[in-house]
Symmetry: C2
Subunit: 395 residues, 2 copies
C-alpha cells in the first residue's frame, strides 16, 4: 500500500494561511451544531447508558428502519434487513473488498475513479480495469468488452463523481444495467453526493433503475446493485456514519466481516444521528447545504473563466463537491502543485485517481470547503502559477 496523496495534503490544510481545494471537506458552517447539541442532550438524558453500551453489528434498529423507509421513498423498495450501518462510507468499501475480492480479481472502475476505493481494494490485491468516462459518465460503447472479460463487479459513482464532478446520464445508466445483466456482473453504486444537486433534473439511482428493469412490479429491490451512501455530506463526517443497501444474504456476510473489523459502529453516533435526522430535518437541511455549495461552485467556475489561461479545461458539475482540471499534455500537475503550495494554495494532482499511471496533467479542485472570497483568491493564485509555468516554457 502506498501513502495517500490526498491525506498527506490534508496535513497542509491545517496551516491557516493555506487556501485548500485539496480535501473533500464539507463546509463547517453547514454543520447542524445546534441540532447535534440538542440531540446529544436528549439522547444522554433519555437513554444515556444505551448510547454508551455495545450495540449489534447490523446497526441501531430505528436508524436501519429510517434508512429503509427513506430509500423506499426514493424508489429503492427495501426492508431494514437490507441495510447495514458502517463506520463511514470508507468502511463500506473496505467490507465489500473483504467479502468479495480475492487476490487478482478484476474490478471495473471509472477512469478516473475514487481514490478511497482504490486504497480499500488494493489491500485485498484487486486488479483494476479502468473504462473511460466522458461528460455523461461511463462510455458504454467501449465498456462492453471490459464487462465481457468478467470483472467481479462494476464500480460506479454516477452522481457528481469524485474526482471528476461528472454525472452519468439516464441513458448511460440504463445501458450499463443491460450490459451488467447480460454478462451477469453485479454493480456497486457509490452515491455520497446524490442529494447535493445544484441544477438540472434528478436522475434516478442505478439501483432504482435496475429494479424497474428486472422486477415485474417495477419497485421491488432487484439485488443486482449494491448501493452505498453516507451521512458525511448531508449531516457531518466526524460522526463516521455510512450505510450499505444489499440483498439480506449479502448483508449477513458483510455483518460477519464487520464483526471481525470493528464489532459495530459507535452507538452514540448512531443514536445521535437518528435523533437529529428524524422528523424530516434532513430534507430541510440539504436545501441549506445546496444553496451554500451552489454559490461556491458558481464562484469557482466564474473565477476559472475569468482568470485561467487558455489551454486548460474543466468540468462544470451539476452538484457535489469537486470539479476536474485538464492541463496541457506537457504540464505535470505535481509540478503545478509545488508552485501552488509556494503561493499557499493546495489541490490534488489527478494521477492518484488513475490506475494506469496516466492523468499526470489533471487535477481535482474542491469547492465546498473554502468561502467564496477564498475561492476567488485561491483560483487567482493558481492562475498566476499556471501563467508563470506557461511563460517559462515559452521563454
Amino acid at each position: 500500500m502506498r501513502s495517500s496523496a490526498v491525506r498527506e495534503l490534508l496535513k497542509l490544510t491545517e496551516q491557516p494561511d493555506v487556501i485548500s481545494f485539496a480535501g473533500g471537506l464539507p463546509a463547517p458552517e453547514t454543520f447542524p451544531v445546534e441540532e447535534f447539541t440538542r440531540a446529544l442532550g436528549t439522547v444522554m438524558a433519555s437513554h444515556g447508558a444505551r448510547a454508551l453500551q455495545y450495540g449489534t453489528t447490523e446497526g441501531y434498529t430505528p436508524l436501519r428502519e429510517m434508512i429503509a423507509r427513506h430509500s423506499t421513498r426514493y424508489g429503492i423498495n427495501v426492508e431494514p434487513e437490507n441495510v447495514l450501518l458502517t463506520s463511514g462510507s470508507q468502511q463500506a468499501l473496505d467490507l465489500i473488498g473483504k467479502v468479495f475480492i480475492n487476490p487478482g480479481d478484476h474490478i471495473l472502475v471509472e477512469r478516473p475513479t475514487y481514490l478511497g476505493a482504490l486504497q480499500a481494494w488494493n489491500a485485498y490485491q484487486a486488479e483494476f480495469v479502468a473504462a473511460d468516462i466522458d461528460d455523461d459518465g461511463y462510455v458504454t460503447a467501449s465498456l462492453e468488452a471490459k464487462i465481457r472479460s468478467g470483472p467481479k463487479f462494476i464500480y460506479a459513482l454516477p452522481n457528481f463523481q469524485n474526482p471528476s464532478g461528472i454525472t452519468m446520464s439516464l441513458e448511460r445508466r440504463k445501458r450499463l444495467i443491460e450490459l451488467a445483466d447480460h454478462y451477469g456482473v453485479p454493480i456497486l453504486e457509490d452515491d455520497p453526493y446524490g442529494q447535493l444537486r445544484y441544477e438540472g433534473e434528478h436522475v434516478p439511482p442505478i439501483v432504482h433503475l435496475d429494479s424497474e428493469f428486472r422486477s415485474t412490479d417495477g419497485v421491488r429491490y432487484s439485488g443486482n446493485v449494491i448501493y452505498l451512501s453516507t451521512f458525511s455530506k448531508i449531516l457531518a463526517p466526524g460522526i463516521r456514519l455510512g450505510w450499505i443497501i444489499a440483498p439480506a444474504e449479502v448483508i449477513q456476510k458483510l455483518v460477519q466481516a464487520k464483526q471481525g473489523t470493528d464489532l459495530h459502529t459507535s452507538t452514540l453516533a448512531q443514536i445521535a444521528a437518528h435523533e437529529v435526522a428524524k422528523g424530516g430535518f434532513l430534507n430541510e437541511h440539504v436545501k441549506v447545504i445546496r444553496a451554500i455549495y451552489r454559490e461556491r461552485r458558481d464562484t469557482m467556475l466564474a473565477a476559472l473563466d475569468r482568470d485561467f489561461p487558455p489551454g486548460i479545461t474543466w468540468t462544470r458539475p451539476q452538484g457535489g463537491l469537486f470539479l476536474w482540471l485538464t492541463f496541457p499534455e506537457w504540464m505535470d500537475a505535481a509540478e503545478v502543485l509545488r508552485a501552488a503550495v509556494a503561493t499557499r494554495v493546495a489541490f490534488v494532482p489527478g494521477e492518484s485517481f488513475f490506475t494506469d499511471g496516466t492523468g499526470r496533467n489533471t487535477a481535482r479542485l474542491n469547492f465546498s470547503n473554502a468561502t467564496p472570497e477564498k475561492i476567488r483568491e485561491g483560483v487567482g493564485r493558481l492562475a498566476g502559477c499556471l501563467k508563470r509555468l506557461i511563460s517559462s516554457r515559452l521563454a
Copy 2:
C-alpha cells in the same frame, strides 16, 4: 468466515427475562453518563464544528498526547507518534492483521484465546498455532518449540484473559520475552482489562518488562512489543475507542491501512472521550468499576461453590470480566447451553475460543453485566441444568 457464536448469543440477551453470562458487556450502571453529558455539552459549545468535521487518521492530537503521557506514567516510555487511535480494540486487531498477516502465516496464540482475534485474522487467512496455558498463563516450557517454528508474532492477553480469566505471572512474562528475543519474534500484547484488578499485586505489562530487558536505561520503549488497549472497559464501549502503541514506523503503516479501512475514528467520540478523561477522572472512575465488578465476581464464585455439582471446575480470576468452566469430558457445552436457554440463562460454549476443534466441554461466564441477584439466580438455574444432565446420564 463463520458466524460468531458470541454475537449470535448476544441477540438472546435482548430478551429481558434472559440472565446472560454470554456477552462481554460492561455493567451499564458504571457508565459515566453525567460526565459524558457534560463533556458533550462542553465539546459542542466550544468546538462543535471541529467535532463534526473530518479528522486525521492518526487520531485527535490531545488524546494521543494523553495516552502517551498515561503510558509513560505506567512504564511504557512513548511519544504521541507511537500512538494510533482505533475504532475500538477490534479494529486494532484487524489493522494488525491487514498490515502483517499474509495468507498462511502462522500466529502463536493461547489455548484458549480471544475469539475476536481469531475472527479478525481468519479474514487474512492466518494459520493458528495454539500453545497451552495453565493458571500462570503461557506454559513457557512447551512454548519454545512453537516459537522456534517462526510464527509471525506471538499474541498474548496477559491480564485476566478473555476467555479464561487467567493472568500470566511475572516469571512467565519474563521467560516469554527472553524466548521472543532469542528467536526474533515480536509480541502483540492485548490488554483491555489491565486496570480492572480486584485482588493481588499488579504485574507490569509485557511491553514494560521488554523495555527493561532491552534498553540500557530500562525505560525507553523497546519496540518489540506492540501494545493494545481500549476505553471500552474503563469508560464506555459504545464510543468505539481503542489504541495501539507501536514503533513510529509501524504506526505509519497502520495509518495507511486505516486510511483505506475507515479514514479515521469518530472525531466526536475522540474529543468527548478526551474531555471526560482529562483531569484525572479515569483514575477515580476505575475504582468505582473495580468495586462493582469485585462484588459480582465474588458473588459468582460463591454461587458456583455453593450450587454447582461435583466434577466441574472453574478459574478464580483476579480481575477482568470472565471466568472459565471445565465440565466433565463427556459433557458437551453446546448441549448444556441448549438446556440453559430453556431455563432463560445464557453463556458462551468454549469451543469457539480454540483453534483445533477441542474445548467442547468448556464454557465462558461473564460476571460484569448481571447484578449480584441475577448472578445468584442464573448460577442456580445453570446448576439445575447441569444436575439434570448428570442424573439423566447416570439413569
